[in-house]
C-alpha cells in the first residue's frame, strides 16, 4: 500500500470538501450588485413615478395610487415632482379626510370615529412629513456631491442605502394594497365605525418604519460624507445651511421617538384587534393618546404659527431665518449700541442636548425592542387593572432595568431634547 499516495489522495478530498463552502462564501460575499448614488436617485425617482398622481392645470390625473404629489406648471408645462410620501385616499374616505381637523360634522356625530381617523391619518401622516422633510431638503445636496465624493464613498454604505430604499418600495406596495382594501370596504358599507382597520394600521406602521429606516440611513451618510466637519463660523451663509440641516434632522429624530412612544407602542401585530383603535373606542382617546403626542409636537409651536398645520400646503417647518445667529448684531437705536441676539446661547444648548440624545437613542431603541412596551403603556396610561407598583414588582431584574432605561430616555433625555429644540425659536 502506497501511504504517500493515500495521504495525497486524502488531502485532495479534504481540500475538495472544504473548497466548496469557501467558494460559496466568496460568491455570496461578492455576489450583490454594486450600486452608486445615482442608482439610489434613479430608484427613488422610479418609486415616485410609480406612485404619483399629477395635477395638470388644476385637474387631477388619476392613477391607481396616490403618494408623491407632482405639480405641472401651467405656464412652463414643467412638472415638479414632490419627493415626500404623502398618503392620499380615494372614494368616500377621501371626502371626509382632506381636513379632518376641522371636520366638525364628523366630530360631533361620532367623536370616537373622528379620533380613530385623526390618529391614523393625521398624526401618522405628520410623522411621514417630518421624516421625508430631511430627504426632500438634502437629497439634491447629496446627489450633486456624488462626483466629489466618489473616492470617499464606501460601497457598503451605498449598497445599504439602496437596500433600504428597496425595502421602502416593498413597504409602499404592501401598504397600497391594504389601503385599497380599506377604501373599497368603506365605499361598500359606508363610512362608519364598523370598518376593521387592523391590517391597514399594521401596514401603515410598517411603512412608517421603512421610511425611518431609509431616511435615517440617508441622513447618516449625508452627515458622514458631507457635513460632519462643518462648524459654525464667520460665514453667515454656511451657518444658515448648517442650522437648517440641524433643524431638519431634529424633526426626523423627534418623529421617530414620538412614533415609538405613542403609536408603535400600541401595535399588537399578533392580535386581531389593534389596541390603538380599541383604546380609542374604549376611552377618552384625545386626552390619553393624542394629548401627550400633541404636547410633544406642540412644544414646537412656541407661540408662533403652529407646526401642526393642516396639510393644505402651508409651510410648517421652521427654517434658519427664524433664528438669529450670534454673528448677527442688531442695532438698538435707543441705546445706540449693537446688541447681540441671544439665540446663539440656546443653539449651543440644543447642540449639547443633541449629543445627549444621540448618545442614548441607540440604547433606547435596543431596549425598546426587548421590552414589553405594550403592557407597560397599558399600566402607565391606566388601561390595565394592575397598578404601577404591582406591575413593577412583577418584573424581573432585567425587565425592571429595561423599564428604568426607557423612562430615563423618555422623561429626561428626549424631554430635554425637545425643550431645547423649541427654545431656539423663542423670541
Amino acid at each position: 500500500m502506497d501511504l504517500a499516495y493515500l495521504e495525497v489522495s486524502m488531502l485532495k478530498k479534504i481540500f475538495g470538501v472544504l473548497l466548496i463552502p469557501i467558494l460559496m462564501v466568496g460568491v455570496f460575499a461578492g455576489c450583490g450588485k454594486k450600486h452608486t448614488l445615482s442608482d439610489v436617485h434613479k430608484l427613488y425617482t422610479h418609486i415616485v413615478d410609480k406612485y404619483s398622481y399629477a395635477v395638470e392645470n388644476n385637474d387631477l390625473k388619476e392613477k391607481d395610487s396616490y403618494f408623491f404629489e407632482s405639480v405641472v406648471n401651467s405656464d412652463t408645462e414643467k412638472e415638479t415632482t414632490g419627493v415626500s410620501l404623502d398618503i392620499e385616499y380615494k372614494g368616500e374616505l377621501a371626502e371626509f379626510l382632506p381636513d379632518i381637523a376641522s371636520n366638525s360634522a364628523l366630530k360631533t356625530s361620532d367623536p370616537k370615529l373622528y379620533n380613530r381617523y385623526y390618529a391614523l391619518i393625521y398624526i401618522e401622516q405628520k410623522l411621514l412629513d417630518w421624516t421625508f422633510n430631511y430627504y426632500k431638503n438634502w437629497a439634491p445636496n447629496m446627489y450633486a456631491s456624488e462626483e466629489l465624493l466618489k473616492n470617499d464613498l464606501e460601497q457598503e454604505d451605498v449598497d445599504n442605502l439602496y437596500s433600504k430604499l428597496e425595502k421602502l418600495d416593498e413597504a409602499i406596495e404592501a401598504f397600497s394594497a391594504e389601503k385599497s382594501k380599506a377604501e373599497d370596504e368603506i365605499d361598500a358599507i359606508s363610512f362608519d365605525g364598523a370598518i376593521n382597520l387592523t391590517s391597514f394600521t399594521y401596514y401603515y406602521n410598517d411603512l412608517i418604519e421603512a421610511s425611518f429606516d431609509f431616511v435615517n440611513t440617508f441622513r447618516d451618510m449625508h452627515v458622514k460624507y458631507i457635513w460632519d466637519t462643518y462648524t459654525f463660523g464667520d460665514n453667515a451663509e454656511q451657518n444658515k445651511l448648517l442650522l437648517n440641516r440641524m433643524i431638519d434632522e431634529a424633526y426626523l429624530n423627534i418623529a421617530q421617538i414620538i412614533y415609538l412612544e405613542n403609536v408603535k407602542a400600541f401595535e399588537y401585530s399578533e392580535c386581531d384587534l389593534n389596541p390603538l383603535l380599541s383604546l380609542i373606542d374604549g376611552g377618552d382617546y384625545s386626552q390619553i393618546i393624542v394629548s401627550p403626542l400633541l404636547t410633544s409636537v406642540n412644544k414646537l409651536a412656541n407661540g408662533k404659527e403652529a407646526v401642526l398645520k393642516n396639510r393644505s400646503g402651508v409651510v410648517d417647518f421652521y427654517r434658519a431665518d427664524d433664528i438669529v445667529l450670534k454673528t448677527d448684531y442688531k442695532y438698538d437705536a435707543t441705546s445706540d449700541k449693537y446688541v447681540a441676539e441671544t439665540y446663539n446661547d440656546r443653539l449651543v444648548d440644543y447642540i449639547y442636548y443633541l449629543k445627549a440624545f444621540n448618545q442614548k437613542v441607540g440604547i433606547y431603541k435596543k431596549v425598546y425592542s426587548e421590552f414589553d412596551v405594550y403592557e407597560y403603556n397599558q399600566v402607565r396610561l391606566g388601561f390595565s387593572a394592575t397598578d404601577m407598583d404591582t406591575y413593577v414588582n412583577s418584573l424581573d431584574r432585567v425587565e425592571r432595568a429595561n423599564m428604568v432605561l426607557l423612562q430615563d430616555f423618555s422623561n429626561e433625555t428626549f424631554a430635554n431634547y425637545i425643550e431645547n429644540f423649541v427654545k431656539i425659536f423663542n423670541n
Binding site: 501511504l3 493515500l6 495521504e7 486524502m10 479534504i14 470538501v17 472544504l18 450670534k326 449700541k337 449693537y338 446688541v339 447681540a340 441671544t342 446663539n344 446661547d345 440656546r346 449651543v348 444648548d349 449639547y352 442636548y353 449629543k355 445627549a356 448618545q359 440604547i363 435596543k366 431596549v367 431584574r397 432585567v398 425592571r400 432595568a401 429595561n402 428604568v404 432605561l405 430615563d408 429626561e412 433625555t413 430635554n416 427654545k423
Partner: protein, 426 residues
Amino acid sequence: MKHFLRISVTLVVLAIIGVACYFFFFKPDSDLKTFNSLSDTIDYRENIGVDAKLNSLISADGHGQRKVVFYKVEKFVPREGSTNTADFVVGGQGYDYVITNGEKEIIKTEEIDFVHDFLDSSGNLVSSNYASIVDYRNVLFTDGDAVNWDSVDYISGTNRYSYMVIEKGLDEIFDYYFAYAQICDGVKNSSQKAMDKAIKEYRKALENFNTQLNNVLTYQLSYQLETTEAAPVKTVASVNDIDYMTESYEYQLDSNSSARTELTARYLELIKVYRNTLLKYCDVIDNLKNIVVDYVFGGELIIEAKTVKLDLTLEAVRAALKTNDNENVVSDRINAKLDDASVFISGQIGNIVELNENEDELLAKYNSVVGNAKDDLVSILNLTNAEMNDIADNSATEELESKYNATYLPKIVEILNLYGFGVFGG
C-alpha cells in the same frame, strides 16, 4: 491511518463550524458579569433583612420615652385609717389629691398612651441624659426630608438628613446606573475586580450592620421587658378633680442608669456601623458608575440635569459621612463650600464666556441661575477653598492651572451650558 485522518479532519471542521455558529448566533451582545454580581448583592441585602430590622427599631419602645397614662376616675375611696378627708386611695396605692366632688371610685381604667420624647408634663426636656438616644435615633432613621435640630441646644446647626433618608438617596443613584449595567460590553477584568472588591467590602459592612442591629434590638426589647415587669415609677403629674387622674409612667431610666448607658452605647455603635455601610455603598456605586461610563458610553457620559443631581448626592453624602464632626450629615461645611463654589464660578465667568456689550446682564443672569442651581455644581467640590482662591487671583501654580484646565474647566462649561447660560468652547 485513513480513518484517523478522516475523523480528525471531520472533528476540526465541526469545531470550526461550531465556533463560527457560537459567535454568530449565541455570543451575548452584552456582558452580564457586573449586572449579575450586583443582583446577587441586592438579594443579599434583602435576605439579611436590615431594612426590615431598621423599621422594627423605629417602632420599638423601651428607649426611654415617657408614657403618660390617663385613668378615668369614678370614685375615690378614703384611705383606711386616715382621718384626713383629703386622703384617698386609688387601687390600693396612696395618693394625695384634692376632692371637690365627693366620693369617686375607679371602676375602669382607660389607658391612653400619650408618648412624649423625654418631656415632662409641662413639655420641658426632662434631662439631657435622655437626649443621646433620641439624638442617635433621629440620626439613624427619622423619616421625611430633614430633622430640625434648632430646638435642641446641644446639637447646633441647620437641617440634617437621617441615614435612612441618605440610603434612599443612594438607592436612587444605584438604581439608575444599575439599569445600564445590563448593557455593559466587554468589561475588563481589572474593572470587574475593583467592582468585586467594593461589593465584598459592602457585604461585610452589611453583615456587621446586621449584627449590630440585632444587638440593639434584642437589648432594647429586653430592657423594655425589664421596665414593664418592675413597678413603674409613678408620679402624679396632675389631678383633674372632676373626672380624670393622670399617672405618669417612666421606664426606669432614672433608676437604671447602667441600662441606659449600655443602650446609648449600642446605638452609638450602630450609627458608626451604619455610616460605614453607607460609605461602602458609595464605593460600590462609584465603581458601578465608572463601569457604566466606560463600557456603555465609551468613557464619556454626556451629563444631564438628572445625572448631575445624582452625582451631587453621591459626592455630598460621601463628604458628609466622612466628616469627623458629630454624627450629623450634610454638614454646614458642605453648604459653605457650595456657596464658595458659586462665588468662584461667578468670578471665572470672564475667562470662559465670550462676553459682549451686555456683560452685566449676562453676569446677573448667571448669578440667578447659579444661585438656584448651586446644588448641581458637584465637580467644584473637589477644589479646595485655597485652590479656588489661587485660581481666582491668577496665582495658581502651573500644576494647579493645568489640573483646572484639564478637569474642572470643561465641567464648569458643561454645567453652565446645562443651565442655558451659553458658552462657546471654553
